[in-house]
């Protein structure tokens, strides 16, 4: 337990010591998105009946920021430790695989939540979104950040240089998060792309999260919960398997 707690705390401290880069910057980015998109689209788009576009956009932006930062936390921490070699000080102690896994993933979830809270705080200065079902909001914030934290761990374990990690991030994570209904309701899409969106687990994270605010979503929050929950479970099992075999960490 002490081992897990220490690694968890170390990982929190690691991003907190550079919080301008890890917290403030993504919050500012999200606020800028909101300013620009709401300025351009507020008058033209009504995603849900009776919901202003700016309000509609806020949960999507918050979720997107959470997901990207949860991913960034595990992946950048692991690849930095691997490349500098100091991961040896994590691999030599008697930390169990589960402790190792949980410490990295939970710290990344915390970063996701801190960034998400920051985005909501600052964007609510423009439009205060409703908050109909706070528990759904919390559940999707936790699970969504969790899925991306685990993906970040897989990427961090797999990548052998920053370039490979950047490729994983830019060619997989960014498209998944951008093409998930952050900026639009997927019902506005042509049928083909509507179908494609349904294959993207990030869509369910954002839709379920948004349901928590407005009580309206493109699909049922229960469907979203089961998709996101099982994605999390599958990725977790896969990652624990990687840790058990020592893939790229223990040669």
């Amino acid at each position: 337990m002490q081992g897990f707690y220490t690694l968890f705390y170390k990982e929190i401290l690691r991003f907190w010591k550079v919080s301008f880069q890890t917290v403030a910057a993504p919050v500012l980015t999200a606020v800028l998105y909101l300013l620009i998109f709401s300025h351009v689209l507020e008058a033209h788009v009504e995603a849900y009946p009776g919901v202003r576009y700016t309000a509609f956009l806020i949960p999507g932006l918050a979720m997107m920021s959470m997901l990207q930062n949860a991913f960034a936390n595990t992946s950048s921490s692991l690849i930095q430790s691997k490349l500098t070699g100091n991961i040896v000080f994590i691999l030599l102690p008697p930390l169990s695989r589960l402790e190792f896994f949980l410490a990295y993933v939970l710290a990344a979830i915390v970063r996701g939540l801190v960034v998400g809270a920051g985005v909501l705080l600052f964007t609510s200065l423009f439009v205060l979104p409703e908050l109909k079902h706070p528990l759904w909001v919390l559940a999707f914030a936790l699970l969504g950040s969790g899925v991306l934290a685990v993906l970040g761990m897989i990427a961090g374990i797999w990548a052998e240089k920053f370039d490979q990690l950047a490729a994983f991030q830019n060619f997989i994570i960014v498209p998944l998060t951008f093409l998930s209904g952050v900026f639009y309701s997927i019902h506005s899409l042509p049928v083909f792309w509507l179908g494609v969106s349904h294959l993207n687990p990030v869509f369910y994270m954002i839709d379920g999260f948004r349901y928590g605010f407005f009580g309206v979503g493109d699909v049922s929050p229960w469907l979203s919960l089961s998709v996101v929950g099982s994605t999390f479970a599958l990725l977790t099992l896969f990652t624990l398997h990687l840790l058990r075999t020592g893939y790229k960490l223990r040669h």
Binding site: Q2, G3, T6, R14, V88, L92, G246, H251
Partner: protein, 301 residues
């Protein structure tokens, strides 16, 4: 004495390169053990197997009776490894680094021992400095402290003095010697053979993934004896009968092979019969370096 470290038929291959070709090796509790060999001989791979950083293709390893794979958590509590590569976490100070390292080993309040480590390794005034701000030698000291936070019964130092100044070497060896006196088992790899010769009581030599020598230091030095007889003569001329034994001449002294003490009397008889008198006589004991070169050279041939 019981066994501190045991390797049984450990094999490891990286692609085409056979790093370890079936190593059997035991280190007993309380020993100061040297693991010697040229670069690429497999020393670091063997140590990595011990720490669970490398998984052997076959064979097994244990520390204080705990298998490093099956019982990895117990095994890792028993051993402190100072890795060869100089590495650190730039986010933290020296003290933070050591507090975290203690935590990974499940130790919550370790301040007294951390202070003692800082003191003994000459780091006390750097405790609150960021790791980035330290010189290479200071970073090396922190790595030694990190390996010792949990007071492991077995301590493994992988070339701890490579590129390190005299002051640290002396501080480090004094401290490690003290730990050994207190009962800790020490395993050391180094390219400075005089360090191994001074400190260690048992020695293993690795070459190309194979164990080529393993013995008590004294026995090893004797069995690979390149002991020499140094003679200064008056007049300064070596009798013809002794010429075949001549190894070299140094400062006006003849250095002759002395494979066995029994040869001493016949050799002196040769000198007497040639009508030459002795100005000085000395038996030059072999050092570890000559033994090392002898072992490495012989196995190559």
């Amino acid at each position: 004495m019981s066994t501190a470290i045991r390797f049984s038929a450990v094999k490891k291959r990286f692609g085409d390169f056979e790093a370890l070709k079936g190593i059997d090796l035991e280190v007993r509790e309380g020993e100061f053990f040297a693991l010697l060999g040229p670069n690429g001989a497999g020393k670091t791979t063997l140590i990595s197997v011990l720490g669970g950083l490398t998984r052997p293709d076959s064979g097994s390893a244990s520390v204080m009776g705990c298998d490093v794979q099956a019982d990895y958590r117990a095994a890792r509590r028993q051993v402190g490894i100072v890795p060869q590569e100089l590495t650190f976490d730039p986010f933290f100070t020296v003290r933070e680094t050591l507090v975290f390292q203690s935590g990974y080993f499940g130790l919550r309040r370790n301040d007294a021992w951390i202070d003692e480590l800082l003191e003994n390794l000459g780091l006390a005034d750097k405790a609150n400095a960021n790791m980035r701000a330290l010189s290479g030698g200071m970073k090396r000291r922190v790595m030694v402290a990190q390996a010792l936070v949990h007071k492991p019964p077995v301590i493994v130092l992988d070339e701890p003095t490579a590129g390190v100044d005299v002051a640290l070497r002396q501080t480090l060896w004094a401290f490690v010697q003290r730990l050994n006196d207190e009962g800790h088992t020490i395993v050391l790899t180094t390219h400075y053979l005089e360090e191994a010769e001074t400190l260690c009581n048992r020695i293993a030599m690795l070459k190309q993934g194979e164990l080529v020598a393993l013995d008590d230091k004294v026995a090893l030095m004797q069995s690979h004896s390149t002991r020499l007889l140094s003679l200064r003569l008056l007049p300064d001329a070596l009798p013809a009968a002794l010429q075949p034994l001549l190894v070299s001449e140094r400062d006006g002294a003849y250095l002759l092979r002395l494979d066995d003490c029994k040869q001493l009397e016949p050799m002196l008889a040769c000198v007497r019969e040639a009508g030459v008198s002795l100005r000085d006589i000395e038996i030059v004991q072999p050092d570890l370096e000559s033994v090392f070169l002898d072992v490495m050279g012989r196995k190559a041939g």
